[in-house]
């Protein structure tokens, strides 16, 4: 893995994890509908994080 690819991976992991952390913090105060929407987006984010890691393996 070259430097540019590594930088991109680090950047992606940081950004995606930041959103996941913020979303997790809001789950408790969300109503059912909103919580479902958050969970859907969080799963998509997690999948995209996995894809980013897979692409570098």
């Amino acid at each position: 893995m070259n430097d540019a690819a590594l930088s991109k991976l680090i950047h992606d992991v940081n950004s995606k994890c930041a959103s996941l952390k913020s979303a997790a913090a809001l789950l408790r105060g969300a109503d059912e509908k909103e919580r479902a929407e958050f969970l859907k987006l969080m799963k998509e984010q997690a999948r995209s994080l996995l894809e980013a890691l897979d692409g570098c393996a």
Partner: protein, 450 residues
């Protein structure tokens, strides 16, 4: 809080949803890419614009290009990032953004950004510019500065209180810039002179007024005509000197040493001290009428330890000013906030210099400790006597004071000559020195013409 008009430009759907939730209750519009964001900025009117710095892989820094349009449209522009890339954040501030929001941070919240926006909005436009320059998020300091600025254009004397290194001189200079006065800003550190020398410095003298007065010289009071006379460390002035200065301030007329011809000068007095002036009055060291004359409005600048949230923005400011880059780990940021800063902003600037010269990569709390120790060790010398640098003092101790003073004289004359194409008359005038002093220096340094 009043319902605000907010634009959110964020390509990450989850991050967008998080912010939409946190900003619920406000009139919110969202854009998922830079082009859509720019279109909304150009057609809408927003109180706040939140811009993600990373708007997709194709153009990772597209967010930067939206800063100028958003800020110039009058919006409080906030950049967001999941990671503090100091260099990019610095660039964002240069482009005119107002605030930074760290996504995913456990210590920062959107509510804090909205509070800062509220404070920013509460200030008149020119004061917003000033507080950006002064770099403070502390409400008490912002209020003190705003209050002082209200009186910038008046003739009211202003007394600035605060510990050493809190920006008293800078505030005095800004007050002068905002005063509309055509004359110059003339600063005198009263603690840097013995009594007779201070009198000569302030009032000037005629040739032959005292031993060594080989030429006549204009005093600082005359130089400040039409401008501002900034008297730093005013608490160190003797009672006799206070009497003479009080008369000059009240009558706007004074006599240079050795002269019976009065000089007139109209200046506004801004003074500063770290001492407790009412206490000096009680102790009989400060004349009450002199105190009354200089403290028309009193402004107090707080020590940095009393406004710990200013440490990081100040460091970022000085790093930007010097074109430097250092990244702090979270534990280092916490350490900076908790630091006592005995030397205030002066110590912080010293830390920035040390970090810029020695730090590489990310600075952790462990590596920061060493730099804080060095900065603290250097700061007290500067705090005790800003007129004397540490290296000057060391030279005076090792070579004797006379040799050290000669060294300083030689260096100043050599530099002045170099800057003026070797013209001696120009050096004499610029440095206000006698021909004897100039030639003695040239002889010492072996530059005297045969």
């Amino acid at each position: 809080m009043k319902k605000l008009s907010i634009l959110l430009v964020e390509d990450d759907p989850l991050a967008r949803k998080v912010l939409e939730t946190e900003l619920k209750g406000h009139a919110l519009q969202s854009a998922a890419d830079a082009a859509a964001g720019l279109a909304k900025i150009n057609t809408g009117k927003f109180d706040l614009v939140f811009l993600d710095l990373d708007l997709g892989a194709k153009d990772p820094l597209a967010g930067l290009r939206l800063i100028a349009p958003a800020a110039s449209a009058g919006a409080y522009t906030v950049i967001m990032s999941g990671h503090d890339e100091e260099e990019i954040v610095s660039r964002a501030y240069e482009l005119g953004c107002h605030d930074f929001y760290s996504k995913g941070s456990e210590t920062e919240s959107v509510a804090q950004v909205l509070t800062r926006f509220d404070r920013h909005r509460a200030l008149p436009e020119d004061e917003q510019v000033f507080t950006n320059r002064f770099v403070t998020q502390d409400p008490a300091t912002q209020t003190a500065i705003a209050e002082a600025l209200k009186f910038a254009a008046s003739d009211l004397p202003i007394l600035i209180l605060g510990p050493s290194g809190t920006g008293k001189t800078m505030l005095a200079r800004v007050l002068h810039e905002r005063s509309g006065r055509k004359g110059p800003f003339v600063a005198v550190n009263c603690a840097a002179y013995q009594e007779d020398l201070l009198e000569a410095e302030l009032f000037g003298y005629r040739k032959g007024a005292f031993t060594g007065a080989d030429d006549s010289r204009r005093g600082r009071l005359l130089e400040a005509d039409g401008g501002t006379l900034f008297l730093d460390e005013i608490g160190s002035m003797s009672l006799a000197m206070q009497t003479k200065l009080l008369k000059a301030i009240e009558e706007k007329i004074f006599y240079p040493l050795g002269s019976d011809k009065p000089e007139g000068s109209s200046f506004r007095v801004v003074s500063a001290t770290l001492e407790d002036l009412p206490e000096l009055v009680r102790a009989g060291k400060l004349r009450f009428d002199f105190f009354q004359r200089i403290h028309g409005l009193t402004v107090t600048l707080r020590a940095l330890r009393e406004r710990p949230d200013d440490a990081l923005p100040l460091i970022a400011h000085f790093m930007r000013a010097g074109g430097r880059r250092v990244i702090f780990a979270d534990d280092a940021k916490a350490r900076l906030r908790a630091h006592g800063w005995p030397g205030n902003v002066r110590e912080l600037k010293r830390l920035v210099e040390l970090l810029a010269a020695g730090a590489e990569g990310m600075v952790t709390a462990a590596t920061l400790g060493r730099y804080l120790g060095e900065a603290r060790a250097k700061a007290p010398a500067a705090e005790e006597d800003p007129a004397l640098t540490e290296s000057q003092y060391r030279k005076a101790v090792s070579q004797g004071l006379s040799a050290a003073v000669d060294g300083l004289v030689d260096a100043a004359i050599a530099r002045c000559l170099a800057e003026n194409g070797g013209k001696k008359t120009k050096a004499l005038k610029t440095l206000k020195i006698s021909t004897r002093m100039l030639y003695a220096s040239l002889e010492r340094t072996g530059k005297k013409s045969p």
